[in-house]
Symmetry: C2
Subunit: 463 residues, 2 copies
Amino acid sequence: MSHQHRDVDVVVVGAGMAGLVCANRLRRHGAEVLLVEACDQVGGRTAGIEVGGEIVDLGGQFIGPGQDRIYALADEFGVDTVPAHTVGASVFETSAGRLRRFRGMVPRLGPATLADVARAHFLLDRLARSVDADAPWRSPNAAALDGRTMESWINRTMKTRGGRRFLVLACRAIWACEPSELSLLHALFYVKAAGGLAAVTDFEGGAQQDWLDGGAYGLAIRLADRLGSAIRLNAPVRRIEQNDSGVAVTVEDGTTWRARHAVVAVPPPLAARITYQPPLPASRDNLLQRLPMGSVIKYVSGYPEPFWRQAGLNGASLSLHGPITMTVDSSPRSGRRGVLITFVNGAPARELATRSPGDRRTTVLDALGRLFGPPATTPMSFVERNWNEEAFTRGAYSAVFPPGAWTQLGSAMRAPTGRIHWAGAETSPRWYGYIDGAVRSGEAAADAVAQAVNNERALGRPS
Amino acid sequence: MSHQHRDVDVVVVGAGMAGLVCANRLRRHGAEVLLVEACDQVGGRTAGIEVGGEIVDLGGQFIGPGQDRIYALADEFGVDTVPAHTVGASVFETSAGRLRRFRGMVPRLGPATLADVARAHFLLDRLARSVDADAPWRSPNAAALDGRTMESWINRTMKTRGGRRFLVLACRAIWACEPSELSLLHALFYVKAAGGLAAVTDFEGGAQQDWLDGGAYGLAIRLADRLGSAIRLNAPVRRIEQNDSGVAVTVEDGTTWRARHAVVAVPPPLAARITYQPPLPASRDNLLQRLPMGSVIKYVSGYPEPFWRQAGLNGASLSLHGPITMTVDSSPRSGRRGVLITFVNGAPARELATRSPGDRRTTVLDALGRLFGPPATTPMSFVERNWNEEAFTRGAYSAVFPPGAWTQLGSAMRAPTGRIHWAGAETSPRWYGYIDGAVRSGEAAADAVAQAVNNERALGRPS
């Protein structure tokens, strides 16, 4: 690698929310930045499409109290937040396919099951409070908590079959995986990073309280607009070299950019697929081998109006019957159209993905019809996003730590590797896996890199 | 991709034992083959070095009854097998650092602990018999077995603290990982694939009965010699394209080879790092996100003679004190030199790797001194191989399935992806993770590809 020439101060890899925020903030720090993105559009896991002239999010969408950085970002761009529609009743579908209306976050499950679920909620919250979100591997009892799966915990803790079933559903809804795949320590860390289980599950007062007018994707576009020509799309990074004086980032078509530092802000399994020279230290490499993404297919169906509201429903649902996990009303504020978003998560997502597109559509619309009546089966528009098929994301919402990963190799999660810094929703100790976590990680990486650049300048290192 | 031109019939990726066997067998089937290897030598996880004129294996080494394919291969090349040296007593080091001599596979642990370990052995063997090695996800009770870690099973099953400790040591010795990282179903599948737990653990009658004269690496070299100019070294594969008529395999320097089919015979985490066009189906991609390699550092120390034998020791040891897991006598048959091999596995390997080379050497030689006396601390030669640092292996002995991976995505483990076939020790339903499994996988892939080529020729597909 030649040290003669430098294209920019910092190359940021990945134009998801973390990379976009990082690049903008680095500019504000006075750094010259290039942001390279593998896809033909920015946004990463906050992708979106236009439905009837308005952007609807196909990826990350909801925000809530405590997520100060994403609210501040929305504020900075003059983006309004829209409260999720919660007027009316939610619908719960039992495994037998019976419907029950409910208010709040927990359906009417029968008294024994309800007590069981309430107790699990209490126990998980209490366990989570003991976790050190900055260093989960240093939490009291970390080894024991990381030695078992969430499934083992559920089987040990829950006293009712209904309670067990509901916890499986909750795992799918929250982490987009099966309880077997999830380290108990990771689940607790995730809850702690969000400030408690209610913050994770609730609409009002929780992480589903609001969404961004014009979509999280709309905000991503605005962040990108500010960067202008400093973004390169369709540029998958294949190789990052580093030495004492800088980095060289090479993309698919062979173009190489030289810089002082690189920030890699892509999902962990994809960070593993870049060739690093020198190779990553074993600890970082081996950690990246262990962080698979959850499984989510998100559907957006558009209707002439939010017809379910007339029936006293708020559009939210939870289904034990499946294959769908849940729905949420995502209609525009104007009320001129109805939009339902539907999630199929974990094992049912993997199963559904094996079927034909027509079969998937029919299956999902049938499920919506059971929940909201016949009008749900004839949407004006119907869009599917299987995040696991996206070659540059490969799953959602976030990486799921299996047992042993945090305690064995977790200390390699956030520390920079020489001149390569790591960002993305998985690197934040606050709101891990959320849009807000992505924003925080981008800010933190930008500040760390700016500090390093300033130190080098002060030391008179080659510039 | 142009369809005009074809360089060979099949490109095989990875010149470990699986790729070498596959390429040789494809040739025997009449196919023209190219074998591309990322490293500057063949062998993959069966690497070796010369110590005093003889090859000593730095990687896979031992073979045993039931491993018919590797014995047949040795036979074909006229390679002798050497029985592991078992004359004399083994040494067990307690966690407090006390030494106890023992015969057989289980040290003298005290009656309660011994009964506990014997019971665990019986239970694991019985559970393993129920597993379907061809399709672990279809085993009776697969979901429950795959929903928990080996650590959960140990904590639930073992009645003594000593028994638990010994099981942790056994996990490190067998799978090179911590019990927290290991799905119980995977552990049972592994045992079933080997034909029982005794086959896994034993020297005489088990998978450590013999080693190959001249090393497994020596056999790899002979397989490579037969292929001659059909091997390209220093050629890391970065991209594999496929369409209806063929594949195009591109390596680091930009060279592309076109063929009818490709066989990818590299460890699962590295198979994930190749760029595929079209991208892999989500099921295969997501499975590859979930299969981390174990952690092993192997040491080979050479002495003027196998001095431990005069003390009535066979050179084998197990240590609860650590950081070493175990040693084995690997002296040449001539007895003219002494060679000890030492394994540091799992968490202790990760910890040891953080220290300086000098510190690691001192630590390991101190441990050998405790086990075998002062002469062990002054070897004539001392070689270290940290498999997790190897950029084109990134761990050993094999990939370790965490909970949920086999049942959620296991059916994508062995099925070809269009014209790309998968080989390697992890794809074999017999002797998963062993040299013999690698041989079997190479043979199976060669036969499947040859069949596909013949079918196409019969159908008059473009040639």
